[in-house]
């Protein structure tokens, strides 16, 4: 699954550590999600959605579409 986490983070000038703190996960998890190596759970995707004030489908893109 692709995502725009890195772009959205960069637009806000946040570091991976800052985003990790906001989403209550480790920095390594943010890094793995940004690189597409780990797909977040639905609750984590919703937390990201609330944080960026964007619908989930504008942050995470289903690779099979």
């Amino acid at each position: 699954m692709k995502n725009r986490l890195k772009v959205l983070r960069a637009e806000r000038d946040w570091t991976q550590a800052q985003l990790a703190d906001e989403l209550e996960v480790s920095r390594q998890t943010i890094n793995a999600i940004e690189k597409g190596k780990f797909d977040p759970s639905l609750p984590l995707a919703f937390r990201a959605s609330r944080l960026f004030k964007l619908p989930i489908e504008e942050i995470f893109i289903d690779g099979e579409c």
Binding site: Q18, Q28, T29
Partner: protein
């Protein structure tokens, strides 16, 4: 947005706290295991009441360690949980598929030395470490 350089986030604080608790319980368990193993030989001799007490203490502290380990797992985020659970699953599988044949090798005289439980624990511990290392690299 919080400044992560100044103070640890609630998530990191929780993980640090549970890691400390797990280290405490693990250390205590190691000490009670040492007491059980060496107590009869070097401290109280044949007095079985002390051996039974040491055994009970070891089991109680062991249960505390297991609970602490489970609580620690629950404080981790989903990717860290996945990495650790996968590593533990591999270690369990390796322990099962190699542990039984290893014991049977002794029973059928394929090996001349004694197949001890300690060998299995060492194998499973090494498997956890290798799996953790491999999984951490996979998601890096």
């Amino acid at each position: 947005m919080k400044n992560s350089e100044i103070s640890p986030s609630p998530y990191r604080s929780r993980v640090q706290k549970s890691t400390f608790k797990l280290a405490y319980w693990t250390g205590t368990w190691v000490l009670t295991t040492a007491l059980l193993a060496f107590g009869p030989a070097f401290i109280w001799g044949e007095a079985q009441i002390f051996t039974l007490s040491a055994l009970a203490l070891n089991i109680i502290v062991g249960i505390g360690m297991v609970v602490s380990n489970r609580n620690h797992l629950k404080t981790l985020d989903e990717m860290e949980q996945k990495i650790i659970l996968e590593s533990l699953a591999i270690a369990l599988g390796v322990g099962l598929i190699l542990g039984i044949p290893y014991e049977l090798m002794e029973a059928t005289n394929l090996i001349t030395f004694e197949a001890r439980i300690g060998h299995l624990i060492i194998l499973m511990s090494l498997t956890v470490m290798v799996s953790l290392f491999w999984n951490l690299r996979r998601y890096r």
